[in-house]
Amino acid sequence: MSVLKRLTEPKSLDSMSPLGAVLVYGGLILWSMVVLFPLYWIAITSLKLPIHVSAGPVYLPFVDFLPDLHAWRYIFVDLGNDTLRPYLNSIVVALVSTALAMLIGSMAAYSLSRLEFAPRLASILLFLLLGAVMIVAVAGFGVPWWIAAVVALALFLLLARAAGRTMRASLGNGDILFWIISQRILPPVVAALPIYVMFQTVGLLDTRTALIATYTTVNLPIVVWLMYDFFVTIPKDLEESASLDGASRFAIFFGIVLPLARPGLVATGLLVLILAWNEYLLALFLSSANAQTMPVLVAAQNATRGPQWWYMSVLILLMILPVIFLTLLLQRFIAKGMLLGAVKG
């Protein structure tokens, strides 16, 4: 056997040729470095003195330079509350909005996976029309918003039946599901302005409540989409059996369905948690001082401090360490959840 052949041909179907193995492992190690190097660079930068940065790059702690905790001290001790408050905001907003999105989204997904809905197209059009009229009335003619809302609601209830009689077409579960998921296509910036005005009107601007409510809605489509796919795989028998055993729908949902969908809940929950944790645009619109979250704080370093890389590195590390830790802990679930979403579409 020639040397070339030995190098390029695998010994068996399940193994690689020596040359192939070199290429494959080479590629994997190269990409590992692409992934790790930026993280490594932030880590060491957070331990550098300003002189280590400005004098040109130094690469190896203890060899090139002596690590120093001054940046960490500055962020935690000197700034103290100014760091702590956004950090706490981020934690509260991310956790609460994730919990709410998971609860509300799972309930909606379950409902869609088990019951048949047939909303009248006419009612929906009527609702949108009244909504538009109400906005014009409030914004254009200065009608107080609560009067407009009450009038619109009353008109809707009065006219819905009549509208349903004139136009019989109705939608199905698939349409509702698509409608909810399609909210994800909506760029958040389109909704951000009116939401900003809305919260300003009710005096909730720059509060955690505003961020929690908004994040919950923004992440609902993902929860509904992924959880729907998990719920349809749970056999209906179990729920029918439980209903004959005497359980109410609520007891079935919380006692049978949710525990069985746990892998899906973990995967989806983690995904939503990370999205909420990292969210930037809406936080930028809706928070200024009180409810400021970490991404906004980090981004603001740009303007206030210029390139003080050592402080920024500490802040970035503070943001990504918990997430990376969670990811390592639960990554098996995430991959599964993402695949489900992508495959089922």
Partner: protein, 349 residues
């Protein structure tokens, strides 16, 4: 408790799966709903359970009209084909579930579950999870969960069909014994006629949403109400010969014979069960034909003959020796012949 279906119908859109079904199950009775898939038997059961809405008609359990009552308030227990055990609960928790959702006292639950577990020989497995059990054990857990709260009726949807043949026979006997002991009204759905015949006090045969016959297993076998039931019950199925009836005599291309009927001048179908026929030398017997195939089953031989345009199967001795193509006669007691009207399929006499 009595269960009554009164002119109960079910449609899915324009498809009618159950047409005006009326039947009455007596207290303590074991009733089997038998039919092929798509006959509406499972739909009927699920309507009694409340899992399927009723399009028209009503359902009574005891003296209660439960047509629009939620499943959880009907006081019936159901055993599913898949057993529907909760995978995240232990055997104990599974059996206890009907009691825990009703918020019974802990001590009572503990006692009832242990009693029932003993009854179905599960007491050593209470801490296991369903995935750690064999098929037969899972089946027992499902039964125990149904028994534990003493419902007014059992509903069973093909509960044995996921077991292998040997275990199925064993569980069949246990099920019958248990139902007898408990004396609880039971409605049992199956497509397996052996299960139906062996378990039931009475069998209801459904086809395309219509009740064909409701009677004891013996009567169903001996006096099938129509051609469908005649062909559905019995293995191998009843032989059928198309012909005409004149002055009580049946006449077809393979031969003619007298019958108990006095009707005359109409197209009929005569039915003969394979075990009622016997093989005879050519020229003897009422029918003439030739051997098409013979199969040794074990304690008997099935001989299939071509008689005119029809095929007639006869159960013969296990040492029957005949060659294919050999001419042969078929004889039988004339009162063993079943007569059906050809147009309607209904039984004559």
């Amino acid at each position: 408790m009595t269960i009554i279906l009164d002119q109960t119908s079910k449609s899915f859109g324009s498809v009618e799966v159950l047409r005006a079904l009326s039947l009455e199950v007596k207290p303590g009775e074991f009733l089997v709903l038998l039919g092929a898939s798509g006959s509406g038997k499972t739909t009927a059961l699920r309507m009694i359970a409340g899992l399927e809405s009723v399009t028209s008609g009503r359902i009574l359990i005891g003296s209660r009209d439960v047509t629009h009552v939620l499943p959880k308030n009907r006081d019936v227990a159901m055993v599913f084909q898949s057993y529907a055990l909760y995978p995240h609960k232990t055997v104990f928790e599974n059996i206890a579930y009907p009691l825990t959702v009703r918020k019974r006292p802990k001590a009572e639950i503990e006692k009832s579950v242990r009693d029932v577990a003993q009854q179905v020989q599960l007491d050593h497995l209470l801490e296991r999870y369903p995935r750690q059990l064999s098929g037969g054990q899972r089946q027992r857990v499902a039964l125990a969960r149904a028994i534990v709260r003493r419902p007014s009726a059992f509903l069973m949807d093909e509960p044995l069909s996921n077991l292998d043949a040997k275990l199925r026979g064993h569980m069949r006997a246990e099920l019958k014994h248990m139902q007898h002991e408990l004396g609880i009204t039971t409605i049992y759905v199956t497509h397996d006629q052996i299960e139906a015949m062996t378990l039931a006090h009475r069998v209801a045969i459904l086809e395309r949403g219509v009740l064909q016959q409701l009677d004891t297993p013996a009567n169903i076998y001996n006096r099938p109400a129509n051609l469908f039931v005649a062909g559905f019950i019995g293995s191998p199925p009843m032989n059928v010969l198309e012909g005409s009836l004149a002055d009580g005599r049946f006449d077809c291309s393979a031969g003619s014979f007298g019958t108990a009927s006095r009707a005359s001048g109409r197209a009929v179908v005569a039915g003969l069960r394979p075990e009622d026929g016997r093989l005879a030398p050519p020229g003897q017997g009422q029918l003439a034909g030739e051997i098409y195939a013979s199969e040794l089953i074990g304690d008997h031989t099935l001989v299939t003959c071509r008689c005119g345009g029809a095929t007639v199967t006869v159960k013969a001795d296990k040492d029957f020796a005949g060659s294919i193509g050999q001419p042969i006669g078929i004889g039988f007691e004339e009162r063993a012949v079943h007569l059906f009207d050809k147009a309607s399929g209904e039984r004559l006499q």
